[in-house]
Amino acid sequence: MSILQEKKELGGSKKSFLSNSFILKSLILFCVIGFLFFTSKNGFAAQLINRKVTLSDSKQSIANTRYTFQWTGTLGNLKCFKILFCRNPGGVCNTPAGLNTILSTKGTWVGLTSANWTLDNTVNGTLKLTNLAGENPAANLTLEFRGITNPANVGTYYNRITTYSDGNCLIQVDYGNVAFRITGPGINITITVPGVPPPPPPPPGGGGGTPPPTYSKVIFEGKAYPGALITVLRNGAVAGTTIGLPTGDFSLTLGAVQTGISTFGIFAEDTQGRKSVTLSFSISVIEGTTTTVKGIFISPTIELSKQLVKRGDSVDVLGQAYPESEVQIFVSSGPTPFIKKATPSLKGEWKYSLDTSILGIGDHSSKAKAIADGGEQSPFSSELPFKVVEMCKGADLNFDGRVNLTDFSILLYFWNQTKPKNICADINFDGIVNIVDFSITMYYWTR
């Protein structure tokens, strides 16, 4: 065969190849389109409305949490729905770190017959429910799932809910996202999406100008102390105040909070004027939603009767806390703190007299937290330092066994000071180095 012939033969096969290639490309294109069409959430499926998810406990890493999903869906026969747990509302769904849905079980359901639905929780982060016979859901659904371990990190996460009309979970009926927030200790946040979806954003370009801000409601509920003044800050400024009920509970509503990310702080001032630490958290306030922040547990207030104490004397640790709780007092003394307990009165007052004979000489500190009857814990109070000193030897301020001019000089050095560095200079520990301490020095003068 000549070269030309080979070329011709090749050209011929080439021609046929091209033809096949065209078909192949078309087929691929069709498949892609079809794939996008059938799997896109923006396909012909409708949006679920009134979407809400409530967590029994929104603290990070908490196990055995109950997630209750609620929505109002379209009528129709459903054979499958999926609930995905994602770090983001769109795009690829990334499962939150620390989340565990593998051990989940069905809880209380309203609007669908729980027994007819099979839960597939083999893929972590996905709850897949199937009912090959299909069921027409009630207009309002409440589906509870139990045994879920919360994500490990504080933040906002999203459940992507999709309903299907086929048992293979391919033909979408409805979809909707709902956000939930994982918090630090003490706070549960529930975000409720109302029935009317928000209006679409205005088209880009033309007209110009910034769209007006929008506002939503935020409710704060929790535990403080009876009669306490509760203050809520938003982005550092006071947004609202309320007074704690005689039970120690409180509820405060901010009716118009500008949407967007806000940093809230909440603290209490007890009836003696002591202030708690401020609990801070950030929330993305979504337009048209009501965000309820529940489970706020204000840490106890704390005060020490003395900041320096002779070893063997006692120092009172006191403050106010939620009445129906137990106050745990942590005293740092060495690498491991030890814990003492106190019970608040009906007015929330608590006190513990700490015997310093069990403490070493030196610096110590004390802080407290409250534990409610249901096991809920408050954050720690502020940590207050105190110093235990060796038994001050009266007027012998330099511990040389004599009371003489050197001791008088030391007394003179700290004259009229309220917090002398040599705390023994305040010989009678009345809070000031003055004539009384001088008189004691004169009395014990060594010839």
């Binding site: 330099n398 001019l405 008088f408 000089s409 004539i435 001088f438 009395y443």
Partner: protein, 388 residues
């Protein structure tokens, strides 16, 4: 029956007396001496502040006094002879506000009557005369018992009332070349006084410690150790405050009012005192410091000077207060403190550093070195022997 009635009356009388004076027997008393005096306008006078413990043992006193700045001015406060030896707050005064404050005490306390300090007042001029002016203690003044607890004692006050009067004209002017300033202490024990004699004038005079003492109307002539009238010299006086009181009788006139000249003599140095080196982590950043407190029986300590001299360095004295942070923290310097009283008398105290023992490591090195030398010598000797 009559006897019974009399007894009842006596008992009632005693009861009334007790009721009338329920508290006066027990409270300590802060008071002035003299409690009253007439002073010529523009002249100075001394008021002693005193305490009567009324049988209690007192070891600390805090005093706050007021005087009228419109009428009086304080020239000086002296603590010489005070029963108090240590002063957390030296007596200080403010002429603008008319206030005096102090805190002082004495180790182991004292009981009885004693002087706390003396105030030299100057009466102002241009006042509407006669003018009465007072010195009072504030209610917040307190005295503490020597009981180891600093318990406050009951305290009462007795103020001073002084009358500023016009100085009569033609009174002699007394001066002194030995003690020129009446308001300053002087260490000379010989007092020389001078005034211009007038013809046919009689004089009556006396030298006393009491400014209120009365001068009689009997003419005096210099006797004994005195030189002559008009130039008086009193020799070898003991330390203390003297008042030369003089009256004159001009021809055909009555005896004049009294004029006085005050001379304050302190010839004795302050009492010996000790120096103490101390250290406290909370003072002077833990550096060594020096404590000292001298006492002077008469005029009081005016100031201290301190020097730290190492080896053959020149001794340089500089004013200092106790406690004093030492410059030489190695304590290798000779430390000297000079206490100077208000008459210029001095008392020295010093600390001479001990010779430092030779460091052990130096001894070991020296011994080792000696051992090596001896070994070499031995070896060399053997070598020499072998060669032979």
């Amino acid at each position: 029956m009559t006897k019974l009635i009399i007894k009842i009356k006596h008992l009632l009388l005693i009861a009334c007396c007790l009721l009338l004076f329920p508290f006066s027997a027990k409270a300590a008393i802060l008071y002035f001496l003299p409690q009253s005096q007439s002073i010529y306008e523009g002249e100075s006078f001394i008021v002693n502040v005193r305490l009567d413990t009324e049988g209690k043992n007192i070891n600390a006193i805090e005093g706050h006094l007021n005087f009228s700045p419109q009428n009086l001015e304080i020239l000086e406060i002296t603590k010489g002879g005070s029963v108090l030896t240590l002063w957390p707050e030296e007596p200080s005064f403010a002429n603008e506000s008319g206030k005096i404050n102090f805190v002082g005490g004495v180790p182991l306390g004292f009981e009885g009557q004693g002087e706390l300090f003396s105030i030299v007042f100057l009466t102002k001029t241009g006042l509407a005369l006669p003018q009465t002016t007072s010195i009072v203690f504030e209610e917040r003044s307190r005295v503490l018992l020597s009981d180891g607890k600093g318990t406050s004692s009951e305290l009462s006050f007795s103020g001073g009332n002084y009358e500023i009067v016009e100085k009569p004209k033609d009174l002699p002017q007394i001066s002194s070349k030995s003690h020129p300033d009446q308001n300053k202490w002087n260490s000379s024990k010989t007092l020389q006084l001078h005034w211009e004699l007038k013809n046919e004038t009689e004089y009556s005079y006396l030298l006393t410690h009491d400014p209120l003492e009365q001068v009689d109307e009997i003419s005096d002539r210099p006797e004994g150790k005195l030189t002559w009238l008009g130039d008086m010299e009193y020799k070898n006086l003991d330390d203390g405050i003297y008042y030369f009181l003089l009256r004159q009788k001009l021809p055909g006139e009555d005896w004049s009012g009294k004029i006085s000249f005050r001379a304050m003599i302190d010839s004795v140095p302050p009492e010996p005192f000790e120096l103490k080196i101390g250290k406290d982590p909370s003072m002077f950043e833990g550096r060594n410091f020096l404590s000292f407190a001298a006492a002077d029986k008469t005029s009081g300590i005016d100031y201290y000077e301190i020097s730290e001299t190492k080896g053959k360095d020149q001794e340089i004295l500089k004013k200092a207060k106790s406690p004093y942070a030492l410059e030489d923290q190695s304590l290798q310097s000779v430390i000297k403190v000079k206490a100077v009283d208000k008459a210029g008398n001095e008392q020295m105290a010093e600390i001479i550093p001990l010779e430092k023992p030779i460091a052990l490591w130096k001894v070991i090195v020296a011994l080792a070195g000696l051992g090596i030398i001896l070994w070499f010598i031995k070896r060399y000797s053997k070598f020499r022997k072998h060669e032979k």
